[in-house]
């Protein structure tokens, strides 16, 4: 009918092409979410340095370079060579569940006081309740004379105690864990 009408095949290809483009967008967006949650995958990590040293003369493979982390969270302060070093504090229970705080060399203070690193709005927490500090490569929890106590694995913390990875530290209704 219309001489300018494109052929069926072209229209079919355009249709399929657009759907592919749409799904491509979904996948790229999901990939961005993934990067955001877990950091780059092993494959991406391996691929990136290759791209970076592409112009370098190919010969003996250079020493493995750790690619810049794409993780939006600040990189861990200590090199994660020792895999047992925790890099973040995760709130697993309580009103603040899901909150993550990166661990720095300064340690973390916990309490209701507004200048604490982790401000709890918990009726059972004291103003300056407890703190977490690194010492000799380990993290310690220390109760700062709180009213209702700090518990590590159901043990009341009376003197500074080393906190293993993933061990629950309970303050009032809030439970904290150290994660890598």
């Amino acid at each position: 009918m219309d001489p300018t009408e494109p052929s069926e095949l072209v229209l079919l290809l355009v249709k399929i092409g657009f759907l592919a483009l749409l799904w491509g967008f979904v996948l790229v967006a999901v990939r961005a979410v993934r990067l955001d949650m877990f950091g780059p995958t092993q494959r991406q990590r391996r691929r990136q340095p290759v791209a970076a040293r592409a112009p370098a003369p190919a010969g003996r493979p250079p020493a493995r370079v750790r690619p810049p982390r794409q993780d939006p969270r600040p990189p861990p302060p200590a090199p994660p060579a020792a895999d047992a070093t925790p890099t973040r504090l995760v709130v697993t229970k309580g009103h603040l569940a899901g909150t993550t705080i990166p661990l720095g060399p300064e340690g973390i203070t916990i309490g209701r006081a507004p200048d604490s690193t982790l401000v709890l709005e918990d009726d059972f927490a004291s103003g300056r309740h407890a703190r977490l500090v690194p010492h000799d490569g380990q993290w310690f929890v220390e109760d700062l004379g709180s009213t209702n106590g700090t518990f590590l694995n159901r043990t009341k913390v009376t003197s500074p105690m080393p906190v293993p990875l993933g061990a629950p530290v309970r303050i009032g209704k809030t439970v904290l864990e150290l994660h890598r």
Partner: protein, 493 residues
């Protein structure tokens, strides 16, 4: 054993305190913004491709103006991106591009329906109606402006919590406004609009945000009371009446107003929204039970009292029976035929006939998309909505303050519910209710309000991902510093 001495956090010596601290992720140029720009570019390409496919199918060629439109669309959302860079540098990189992509697909589909309408009018010898796409483009521009304004004005979402009761009142007033004579207008059987000159606006879209702020702020204060001080009954905890008061009043008032205004979709949305936020705040399953019981009661009462509800339910249950397909359920059935015509891959943009469905560019835009993009396209679009909701919930998880958590949860649940009620209605999963598909449907107030929701979500996610900026304390008292200075009058405020 001895640990290093306890130092006051954030003392006056900030440099030392923060020297060894990892740089707050919001302060370096974050990779998120680059990722956002990349995704936004992709969204621009997607919208341009949709428009190109449409013009190819209609005219047989792809004109130069397609790229002009694409570039214009991209620059419009790039403005929003620049605002995010400036005001919320650590915010989520996925939300904005996904919203832009949805908006682009919606704009092309609205334009496509305009063209079909214009063709039909030309064939019938009538005057060609003015296009909805141009109007929607203006609304999109306005939505971007509102988005930027919200980001710029609300620098800290916690400041919103201060206006809890004001927000509750304003939200209710906004709901009631359309009933007011003079400015209220009845369009399509529902009195939902404010008509000022040629512009009509649906204030319930705005009030859903404002009421959400009220509910989040109120429940943050009261949730301990709501979940602890209650009597046990049948293994569930029944809260005291006086704790419930304000919530129930707001709930009943908004529902009452909506029933009077005959807007089924919004009532459903508000009801679900309150239920979600109440459950999230108190973590009590009894609230879900109470809410569902109230919902059943409300549904039965509404069905027996109101004719328009009966028509909707009848059209849903007996869509293909008797006279219905050509009568009350005409729209629904035509929409379903549209989905069926689309099949798995759709007819291709510009090659179906979605204009047969009444209100194809607002309530039934999902049927239009289903016909031309097919199951594959509809699934992708629903996934994009799921991404928006998931990122909203992610912002809620990361938020460091309870108000931000509740607000982000409530806002993303509102978006998700709206999509469910809308798409469920069009696909005949639930009775058809008049709601717009966020960012896609033709409708100004909807896109503006939803842009404000996205701005708030970005604000909360920015606060969640950024380490708190140091607040300089007053320097510690140093006696030697004041011993030499003369006595002064100190004003206390």
């Amino acid at each position: 054993m001895t640990l290093p001495p306890l130092r006051r956090p954030r003392s006056a010596d900030l440099t030392a305190t923060f020297a060894g601290f990892p740089l707050p992720s919001g302060l370096e140029l974050p990779p998120y913004r680059r990722r956002e720009l990349f995704l936004l570019g992709y969204a621009g390409i997607l919208a341009t491709a949709a428009l190109a496919a449409l013009t190819l199918a209609r005219d047989g060629t792809i004109g130069f103006q397609v790229f002009t439109y694409g570039l214009g669309f991209f620059s419009l959302w790039a403005l929003a991106h620049l605002a995010v860079r400036r005001f919320a540098p650590a915010a989520d990189p996925v939300l904005l591009p996904v919203v832009a992509a949805l908006n682009g697909i919606g704009l092309v589909m609205i334009y496509r329906l305009d063209l079909a309408k214009a063709d039909a009018a030309r064939r019938a010898g009538r005057e060609v109606p003015t296009g909805a796409a141009q109007t929607q483009l203006v609304w999109t521009l306005l939505a971007v402006v509102v988005f930027i304004l919200v980001l710029a004005v609300v620098r800290d979402h916690r400041s919103l919590a201060r206006y809890a009761y004001t927000a509750g009142l304003v939200g209710l007033v906004f709901l009631v406004l359309p009933i007011a004579p003079g400015i209220g207008a009845t369009i399509n059987g529902a009195r939902l609009w404010l008509q000022v000159g040629p512009f009509s606006f649906q204030p319930s879209e705005v009030s859903k945000i404002i009421l959400m702020i009220f509910f989040a702020a109120y429940l943050v204060n009261k949730r301990d009371v709501l979940s602890v001080a209650s009597r046990s009954f049948l293994g569930m905890k029944i809260p005291r009446a006086r704790d419930l008061g304000p919530v129930l009043v707001a709930w009943a008032a908004s529902l009452g107003v909506l029933v009077v205004q005959k807007d089924l979709g919004s009532s459903l949305l508000f009801f679900g929204m309150f239920l979600v936020i109440l459950y999230v705040a108190t973590q009590q399953a009894s609230w879900v039970a109470i809410g569902l019981a109230l919902f059943m009661l409300g549904a039965v009462v509404a069905h027996s009292l109101f004719g328009h509800v009966q028509i909707r339910v009848d059209g849903w249950l007996h869509a293909f029976d008797g006279e219905n397909p050509s009568n009350t359920s005409y729209q629904l059935v035509q929409g379903l035929y549209g989905f069926a015509a689309g099949g798995i891959t759709g007819t291709g943009i510009g090659q179906g006939s979605p204009q047969r469905v009444p209100f194809a560019n607002t309530d039934f835009i999902m049927a239009s998309l289903g016909e031309e993009l097919g199951l594959t396209g509809v699934m992708a679009i629903l996934l994009l909505y799921a991404l928006v909701a998931a990122r909203g919930i992610r912002a809620a998880l990361g938020a460091k303050d309870p108000f931000g958590k509740l607000l982000a949860t409530g806002l993303s649940a509102t978006l998700a519910l709206q999509v469910f009620v809308q798409v469920g209605g069009v696909m005949r999963l639930i009775p058809l209710t008049g709601l717009t598909l966020p960012f896609v449907s033709y409708g100004g107030s909807s896109i503006v309000a939803n842009a404000a929701i996205i701005a708030l979500l970005l604000r909360i996610s920015d606060a969640a991902r950024r380490l708190e900026e140091p607040v300089p304390d007053a320097p510690l008292f140093d006696p030697s510093a004041v011993s030499e200075s003369p006595t002064q009058v100190v004003k206390t405020t």
